[in-house]
């Protein structure tokens, strides 16, 4: 397998005031290979969300390099990073993060709107296929606040898949769901990994969920404790 993301000696520091610097991530070295299903686990405040933001190019490290498909991302402009997020990453969040004033179909289509190149498939057809596959075809014109949490998370996964990204980053994807629905979502993410060979990284504090992945990265106080 080839590495699609390489984190090389990543540090993330926040200046709290003139004298106090908070270090959120220290010396993170991580290789995420194509087609992997992995979990990043750790207690609250350990830095796992910061790590996800850095992997997802939402934030820049204070030190170190990120390589996407062997290409270094430092020095990329904001526009280039936006394009890379659009094409390369699919985000799934704990709060679902659907936009309430857009319908489910419009939410799923949103990344395609921001894609500036020619798409060689019909995004609307693809969105409808995904929504059908996730059992949401009857909800395409519903608004997020009118459907259940599980349905919202499935819609968010459909949105994450619309641009056919190489990696799905799921930040506490079951955090706002009951255990049964949570399990269904994890099952869905596993399926994407197994059937579609998508690289899936789940960020969670729940070790039970982590155990369902093939590789677990444990983080504590901003450092990787272990990786199996």
């Amino acid at each position: 397998m080839t590495a699609i993301i390489t984190l090389e000696n990543i540090w993330k520091e926040y200046r709290l005031d003139e004298e106090v610097i908070f270090t959120a991530l220290k010396e993170i070295n991580l290789l995420i290979e194509n087609g992997e299903l992995m979990a990043i686990v750790g207690p609250s405040g350990c830095g796992k969300s910061t790590l996800m933001h850095i992997i997802g190019l939402l934030d820049q490290p204070s030190k170190g390099n990120i390589y996407i498909n062997s290409k270094v991302t430092s020095g990329l402009t904001d526009n280039q990073l936006s394009t890379l997020r659009n094409e390369f990453v699919g985000f799934v969040f704990q709060q679902f993060n659907l936009i309430n004033k857009l319908t489910i179909l419009e939410n799923v289509l949103l990344p395609a709107i921001y894609y500036r190149k020619k798409i060689d498939y019909n995004p609307r057809e693809r969105a409808l296929q995904l929504l059908e596959r996730f059992g949401l075809i009857s909800k395409i014109n519903s608004y997020p606040n009118k459907i259940s949490g599980g349905e919202q998370q499935r819609a968010a996964i459909a949105r994450a898949l619309i641009m056919e990204p190489q990696i799905i980053l799921a930040d506490e994807p079951t955090g706002n769901l009951d255990s049964k629905t949570g399990l269904e979502i994890i099952q869905l993410l596993k399926e994407l990994n197994q059937k579609e060979k998508k690289t899936v990284v789940i960020i969670t504090h729940d070790t039970e969920i982590a155990k369902q992945t093939k590789r677990i990265i444990k983080i504590k106080d901003g450092q990787i404790l272990s990786s199996n």
């Binding site: 933001h53 997802g56 939402l58 934030d59 904001d78 526009n79 936006s82 394009t83 997020r85 659009n86 094409e87 985000f91 969040f93 993060n97 936009i99 004033k101 857009l102 949103l110 990344p111 709107i113 921001y114 894609y115 949105r159 641009m163």
Partner: protein, 401 residues
Amino acid sequence: MVYFLFIVKSALKDLFKNKVRTFLTSLGILIGVASVVLLIALGLGLKEYIRTQFYNLGTNLVYVMRGKIFTQGGGFTGTAIGNVKFDEKDYLRLKKITTTEVVVPIFLKTATVQGDGKSESGNFYATTPEIFFTRNLEIDQGNLFTKANVDKKSKVVVLGPKIAEKLFSQKERALNRTVRIESQAYKVVGVLKLKGGGGFGTPDFDSFIYAPYKSAHVFNPDKIFTSFILKAKDEISIPTLKREAKEVMLRRYNADDISIADQAEFINTITSIFTALNSVLIGIGAVSLMVGGIGIMNIMYVSVTERIKEIGIRRALGATRRDILFQFLAESVFLSLIGGFVGLGLAFGVTLLIQRFFPARIDGTSMVIAVSVSSFIGIFFGVFPARKAANLSPMDAIRYE
């Protein structure tokens, strides 16, 4: 195209989600646009009214008057008369000009007219019958006075229909009756057709009294004329006629003591005064637009703060700073345009209403101004909040609760 439609749809969706807020925010622009468009409409209508009134009084006319009428800056001096006294000699010399069709001598005075036990104050025109031709005045009852009446110094008058009605209740009853003009008895030989106009500082010719000028020497012992009206053969001859009239008059008078002007000069001077007044009022209306713009900016800042999380989500999904900027800019432009269009509609409605008693007209320019000013305000006042939204860090925005 899909992207553009999406931006438009998104902006409209956001605005219609908060209908009351949208309405209140665009109210400032609405009032501003409505007042500016309305004031332009009033100014435009007034200018046209004045122009029509002047051309109703005859075309290709050149006025020879005593004193300096116009200032250097294009206004009226206000002290027109001066010490010059025009007389029969001037009249005869002006008549020799080849480019003029007619020369009408005028002795004008304000006089009290009594008839049928009533008394009215009116402008008394001692002149020749050519006045009726140059001013397109037509007879309604009886006859116009004639050249023979002038030569015989006949004490006859032709009344404007309004003054005839005021004195004799019905204009038909005025014919062949006697009116007393400052104790002199005059026989009414004719009543003119209604000409209309006379509003907003323009002369009300329907209230004038016309008499043969020689019959009025009793009020005018020096036998002077207050002005002359010359009618050019056509529009092209007006400058030549003016030049020739000037040459004639400068033989006897100083350039500073007389004024020779055509209708266009009068119209331009009057309209420039109204334009200046109108501009001040439009300026006041524009302040409302400014306040409206600040209102939009304020609400757009609120909107950005309310939607930080949404901005973060969009950025995570691949929206660039420019996408976010466009999105918020589109909203402020639409917010302003809604105000602009409703304001324009309101101005249309009010214009239709006031057209019943005041000349007003909305033209294409006002509409273009309304739409472009609204768009400009939307962009100008929307760009700061939109830039704030665009410059938010994606990570900070998505974490925002």
